[in-house]
Each structure stands twice: as structure tokens, then as C-alpha cells.
Amino acid sequence: MKLFFSILLIAFGIIITSEVIGVIFIYEVKVNMENTILDSAEEKNQLLVNRIDSYISDRTIDMLNLVNDKSVLQAVVSSNADFQKMDNPRQYVETQNATWNSTPRNTSPSLMLNITQNPTADRLREMMNIEKAIFHSDVFSRMLLANSYGAVVAASEAPADYDQFTESWYVEVKQDGLHVGNVTMDKPSGIVGIPIAVRINDENGNFVGVAKGIISINNVFHMLSNQMATQKIMPVKYELFDSKGTVLYSSDPTEKPLATSFPVDFVQNITGHSGSFVYTHPEEGQHFVVYVTSNSSKITPTGNWILATEYDPVQMLKPVRDMTTLLIIIMFVLIPITCIVVFVISRRIERPLSYIISTLHGFSKRDVKYIVPNGSDEIKELAANFNQMMKSVTESERKIIESEGLYRDLFESSPDPVRLIDLNGIVIDVNQAFVKKFGYSKEEAIGQPLSSSLVETSQYDIQQILQELKRGIKIDSMQVLYRKKDGSTFPALLSATPFCDSKNKLVGYVGIIKDVSELIEAKTKIEEKEATIESQYAKLAQVDKLKDEFSSMISHELTTPLFPIKFHAAMLKDPKNFGTLNKDQLNSVNEIYQNSEKLERLISDVLEVQKLEMGVTMFKKESFEVDEFMNKIFANNLPYMGNKQIKFVNSTKAKTRITSDSDRLGQVFSNLIINSVDFVPDKVAMIEINAKDEGNYILFYVKDNGSGIPKDKQENLFKKFYQIDTSPTRRHRGSGLGLSICKGIVDGLGGTIWLESAVGVGTVVYFKIPKVAVTR
């Protein structure tokens, strides 16, 4: 239905628009037509009004033709001859004129006085009839002939005066040959007309008389009417004015004159002008008025003629009316046709659409019936698409249900309590774990506010959590204290995530509650144990410190008595002091001396280690050449190689300077070389020393082909007193402090030390020292 209405609305909108355009168009046509009509009428009327003068001229020529008629001329000449015979012809004329109006015409005493009933008068009337026949109207209302003495010779009707001699027109004609008078009313006949008169000359050109006629103004109008009819000018009314605006003639004197029809000074406006105007009367409607003034007439003394014409707008604008009628007819035909067409079209579309809609309506209620394609191709395509869509939706729905079931299972089977909260903090779903943990049934839990399962102290936190969730921030493992249905409480870690609908609009939150009461208990225990350990560690540190102090003190105390023992042993060995000892005595003294030295070294090492550990060892900063230093090391340690015939090699090629403590480095080399000497085999032994430039560092190493060190023993080698072989029968004796001292020195010089060793292959001990001394 909406489709029908919509199409109808569009169609009618088009119709209205078209109609308005049509109205505007017709209106424009009307305005143009008005202008054209008025212009055309003005043009035609101008020709008409100009024709009045030429018409009068034509009639003057007619008059001249008349006077050239022999019978007319003869009558006038004959009359003049009769008057010439009189003693005083003018007196006779005047005398006759005095009694003219009182003397019966048919009893006139002389032939001259019987002016209306003579052959010449008949000729005049004949001529008037001829004119009338030509113009279908009385052209001349009266005609007369007067002789040279002013006496009327013949007249179509009796004139008012017999004597014309003193009349101004007579004098004018006698002098000028032509007279055209003002529009005046002819007294005897009462006819309004234009008098014209011409001079009559004899064959010699001598003045013999005048001929006068009065052109009826009605005839002028008759002429105008004929001309209008010929030119198809159909005015409602027209009026002729003289140049002063006096109405000379009205085509319909029974109607209100034009001059009083319009609320303008009509006469003043039209006098001397040509133009047109449209006046819309509130009651009568439009008036089309055209007024024209003749072009500078010189024929009549009254001047220009003014013709005002009123036209019927209905008649004039008939084509416009026809157009409007046509427009109305088109509209009234178009509207029902449009309705029918729209109805048919909309039905064609609506029916299959309604079927599709009802099918979809059923589909929305899970009544899946596929659409049988019907209607136009587009509708069929639409139906096919809907069928495809329904299939897809059904399939998607099945998958969603499956997926939903899966997620429901996951939700329900989660070992941790999970609940869904809406934006207002109301529980909308909980899983079985929640039910089990909190003791509420699902029905009880759903609809409760979030705060109902929280202890008071956690409620403020939860409000904050909700605020953060609303801002889209996830909550991860926040500790909250919950209360179960039975009133007991438990600590838990809450992880919460906002969840959104399909339009990505936030609709609620998922909260996962992890009971951490056991963890908290375990943590408490761990913390307690950690405290115990820390306490024990502190005690151990104290003991260690005491031990170090003890070692330091012992070492010092041991060194003090050792010196006299060693000194005295040396004194005993020298026969100069106490005489020569026997072999056994000497051996014993040597034994004392050597063990004193060992003990002294041991104590020295212990003290060294102690100093290094306590950070009181002083390191020098001196610059020296590495290759020179290595040569020195080689030379100093070469004596140790003698007993085992060891191949001792210095591979150093680096020629660079280093700022470090050369004595300490030498101590490191000595310790490492002595160790190597101790572990290399008796035969085919080899010890190599080297120093390599590695940018900011110098890499030193001592390499041997000794027995090697197992992997599991390597990590403890740099610890104090560590012995690889701790058995009572071990071959290699040592304090286990050498490598520890090396590490302490290398560390103190800002370097690092490490080793690479393989059993049966040998060992390489590397240490890397910065070229620029670093104080640690």
C-alpha cells in the first residue's frame, strides 16, 4: 500500500509540477499574446485612423468629379447667365434669402429658387445614391451647388440659407478652391458631418460657382467598421474623438462612454498619443484598450483624429483560453490514467512482494517455506535471493545454535564461577560452578545486583571495576572478597571483560571468579618459611663474616710465628751458622723450611682471597705494551717448565697498549701457568699463552693439553677451596684458591674470566681485560 501511495505521490508530484509549468507557460503566452495583440491592434488602428483623412480626400475628389460633370457645369453657368441679366443680382439674392425660410419651396417664383426639384438637383441625388451604393451607406448627407452670386442653384435637400455668398467656406473655396470644414451638425438635417466644398470653374478656368457636400460622420464610422471587418478587427466598442478629446462618435452610445469607464483621466491620456493599456476591473475583469491619434492631419481644421478601441479580452485571448481548457482536459484525463497505471504497476509489484513478505513473516516465526518465484524478472531474482538468504540464515542459525550450545557448555562446565552482568550491574546469567560455589540457585542469582554477593569492603572496589569496564578496560585478577549464600566469605581473583552485541555496543560484562582461598593459605605458609629462611640467611651471613674475620685473623696470627720458623730453618740449613748438619737433620730442616714456605703461600693466598672478597685490594693503573708484558710473563714462568720438559709457547702478536695493573695480571698468569704445569702430562706437554686485541678489550688465555676438566666440575672451579679431586689419594695438591684469586683479580680489573675444557684434550682459560682501566 505504501508503494502505491509513494508512486502515486511521485506521479502526482510530477503532474502538479507539470501543471504549474504549464500554467506558467500559458501565462507567459498570454502576456506575450496580450502585448502582441495590443501592438497589432494599435498598428491596425493607426492605419484606420489615418484612413479617415484619405477617405475625406477621396470624397473631395468625388466632389470634383461631380463639378466636372457637363450638366452640373451647364446648370451653374446657365444660372450665372440668368443672374447677369438682373440689374442687381446680389440684391435679388439677399432679398430672396430674407424670405427663404418663410417661402414654400414648391411655389418658388423663379426657376432659380426651385433648387431641389430641378434636373441638377436630381443629378446631385443620383450622385449621392451612387456613392451610397458604393459604400453601402450615406456618404454625403447633403449636397448643393451655388453660382458665382452665392445663390443656391441645386440642392439634394433645401439648405438653411439661400444665399451662400457670405459664408466663410464659400469665400474660402472661391479663393482657395477647396474647403474641408470641422465636424459639425448640419442644422437643417441635424446630421453630424464634415462639410467639404470645391470651386467650379468654366472651361476657361473662370470661377462660376461652388459645390458643397456634407460627409456624414456615420459614414466615416461605417467606413471604419468596414475596414475593421475587412481586417478582422473585432472591438467591443470604439469611439472617435477630435483632437480636443471631444467624442465625435461612439459605436455603442447605449453603453457607458470609454472616458468614464476607467479610473484614469482617459481623455487627457489619449489626446495626442497612441498606445494601449489593460485595465482589470474588480467586477468586470480585464479591458483591453487601444488608442491612436492620426498622423498630423492637414485636411480638416480640427486637426488629428483619435480612435479609441476596446477589445474583448476573452475573444482576443481565445487561443489562451483554448490552451487552458486543453490543459484542464489533459489534467483530468491524465489523473485517472495515472491512477490506473500506478495502481496496475503497484499491484504488479505489490502482489509478489506481499507474497514474499508473508513468506518472510512466516520465516521469522520459523515457518520455513521457500518462495515460488513469480512476477517480473527482478521479483523472481529477489525471490531467488530471498530463498538463498533463508537457506543461509537457516544454516547460520543452525551453526549459531550449535556454537551457542558449545559456548553454553563451556560456560556451564567452567570450573570457576562465571556470571554475566548487565550495564546496571544486575546479574543476567551464572554458570553451574557459580551455583555450586555460592549456594544460590540460578533463578535466585539471576536478577540480583552485583553487590549482593560481595562483602561490604569489596563493594567500593566493584563500583570502581564497573566504571573501568564501562570505559572498556579489562580487569585482570583483582582480589575481591565474596560472600556466599550461607554468609561465609572467601577471597577470589576477579577477571572481568566487557562484552558487546553484534553492533559492537557494550551490553554487559563477563566476570570470572577464581577462588584463591587455598592459594592464599599456601602463600601465607610460604611467606612464613621465607621469613625463617631470611632469618637463617642473616645468621649465616653473620657467621660468614665472622668466618672471614676469623680467617683473616688466623692467617695473620699464623704468619707471625711462621716467619721465625722459616728464618731459623734457613739459619740451620746454612753450616755457617750452627755448623754442618747430618743428612737426616738437613732433610728435616729442609722439610720444615719447605712446609713453612707452603704454609706461607697458603696463608698469603687466603689473605689475598680475603682482601679481594672484602674489596680492599688496591689495583694500579699503568700503561704498558701487551707484547712486552707477555714476553715478560713468558720469561718469568719459563723456569717452571724444566722438570716436565713442557713446550711453553708465547703466541702473542698483538701490539697494543693497555692501562691496567701488570703485576696483578702477571699474578693471574702465574697461577694459571702453575696450574697447567701441574696438570699437563709428563711427556709431549704443551702450554701456550697469548694475548689478542679485541677492540676495547685484550683477550688473554692460557692453553694446555692437560687432562681436561669434566663439564659438571667446571662451574665451581672459580669458587674458593674447590678441588676437582677431593679424594685422600689425589695426585694434585693445592689450596684451591688459585682460580678464585684469578677471578677476584680479573673482576677487580673490570674483566671477565672463563674456561673451556674437554677431558683428555686440555683446558683453555680465557680472561678479558679492558684496555682502559675500570675501577670496580
Partner: protein, 258 residues
């Protein structure tokens, strides 16, 4: 829901219509006449459109005949208004009286059977008292205009005077069913939108009376006060007709659902 929405649109439409009348009215007669003639074309075309819509989608046979009568009336108004507007707007011919009045009379006369049939389904609620009141109201409108008409005919009989009285007289006849309809509305027997059809006639009557007075005084022109009251019935008719269509559709759906 739909009716509430339409009430809002109705209020807006009446407001806009008032402004469409007021602004040109204040700006001057020529503008008022021009606007008036064009606005009537739009109004009548829209009314015809809604009437067609109503006829097409009315299922019940008697109801459809009722609405066909209304469509005839609307179409007659369309014809009349076009003739009036074209005469006045294009030809500058005084449009009253004119052939347009024949179409106007057809439109007015069509309302009589339309409203009669319109209230027919509610006849069980129509009491004698309501009928008497309707007769009185109707008589109060007809009798003064009838007197004027007779006096006019006795004096200088003119088509103009006859028509000026004829319209209110027809209004008076139409007011018989209209009065009944309005009384039923105030008794709560009809809804708001169907009642718009009745209220439209009140405005129509007021317009005809103002037109009669203004024309008699020679002060009427297209776009004057009378036309404001001529516009309102078109708006009310349109909304009444359209909303009834919507209601009927809703009922049909409900029937189908049940």
C-alpha cells in the same frame, strides 16, 4: 502510534497552511491571489490522490461506495478549482460565478450522500435526541440562507446571488449527518481522525458564510480570510482519509492475524 505521529503531522500541516495563508495575505492582494490559486491546485490534487488511495484500499463494498462519493466530491473540487484558478490566474477573468461553480456544486452535493453513508455504520448509537439536534442545527443554517435566496430571487435575480446562498444551504443539508457525527465523537463513539471529516465541514461552513458576506460586499478576493477556512477542510479531509486508511489496514492485519 501511527495516529499520534499523524496528529503531529496534522498540527504541522495546519500551522504551515496558516502561514501560507497569512504571509501573502499580509504582503498584498496580488500575491495572495497568485498564491491562493496555486495552493488550491496543490491541495485539490493531493486530496484526490488520498481519496484514490482510500478507494483503492477499501475492501468492504459499501465503504468503497462511500469513498467513491468522496472521490467524486474531491475530483469535482479539483475540476472547479482548476477552472477557478485558470480563469483568475491566467485569463484575469472574474471566476465567480463561472462554470467552475457547476463543479463546485457537484462537489458540495456529493458530500450529502457521502456523509450520510459515512455515519451509517454508527447508526446504532444515533438516538432520536441526536437526530433532533442535528435537524435543528441543519435548519438553523438552511433557513436564513433560504430566506436570503427567496428574497434575492424576488428582487433582481442573479446567478451570483443564487450561488452565494446555495452553498451555505447545501452546507446546511450536509450538516445533518455532520452534526450527528460530531455528537458521536463527543460521546466517545468515534475516534479522532474519522471525526476530522466532520470538523472539516465546520470550517467549510464558516468559509462559505464569509465568502457569501464578502462577495455580497464586494470585498472578497482569492486569498482573503474566507480562503483560510477553505484550506482547512482540505487538510482535515486529507488526514481523516489517510488515517482511516491506515486504521483499516491495521484492522485487516489484525483480522488476518486472528
Amino acid at each position: 502510534m501511527l495516529s499520534t505521529k499523524n496528529q503531529k503531522y496534522l498540527a504541522i500541516s495546519l500551522g504551515v497552511t496558516f502561514l501560507i495563508w497569512l504571509i501573502p495575505f499580509l504582503l498584498g492582494k496580488n500575491i495572495a491571489v497568485f498564491k491562493d490559486d496555486l495552493f488550491y491546485i496543490v491541495l485539490t490534487v493531493l486530496l484526490v490522490m488520498v481519496s484514490i488511495y482510500r478507494v483503492v484500499y477499501t475492501q468492504e463494498k459499501t465503504l468503497r461506495i462511500t469513498w467513491i462519493l468522496f472521490l467524486i466530491s474531491s475530483f469535482a473540487m479539483l475540476v472547479a478549482q482548476h477552472m477557478w484558478s485558470f480563469d483568475e490566474l491566467i485569463l484575469d477573468v472574474k471566476p465567480f460565478p463561472s462554470y467552475a461553480d457547476i463543479a463546485f456544486l457537484i462537489g458540495y452535493l456529493s458530500w450529502i450522500p457521502f456523509f450520510g453513508m459515512f455515519i451509517k455504520p454508527m447508526k446504532k448509537y444515533i438516538s432520536k435526541k441526536i437526530v433532533i439536534i442535528a435537524i435543528v442545527v441543519s435548519g438553523a443554517i438552511i433557513i436564513p440562507n433560504l430566506i436570503i435566496l427567496i428574497q434575492s430571487a424576488a428582487g433582481a435575480f442573479t446567478i451570483e446571488n443564487t450561488l452565494l446562498s446555495a452553498y451555505p444551504i447545501i452546507d446546511g443539508i450536509v450538516f445533518f449527518p455532520v452534526t450527528i457525527g460530531m455528537m458521536l465523537f463527543f460521546k466517545g463513539k468515534t475516534n479522532f481522525f474519522p471525526s476530522l471529516m466532520f470538523f472539516a465541514m465546520i470550517s467549510q461552513l464558516i468559509a462559505d458564510v464569509i465568502f457569501e458576506i464578502d462577495s455580497a460586499n464586494g470585498t472578497y478576493y482569492s486569498g482573503s480570510l474566507a480562503d483560510l477556512f477553505f484550506y482547512i477542510p482540505f487538510i482535515l479531509f486529507m488526514f481523516g482519509t489517510y488515517d482511516l486508511s491506515a486504521l483499516e489496514k491495521k484492522q485487516n492485519v489484525n483480522v488476518k492475524n486472528t
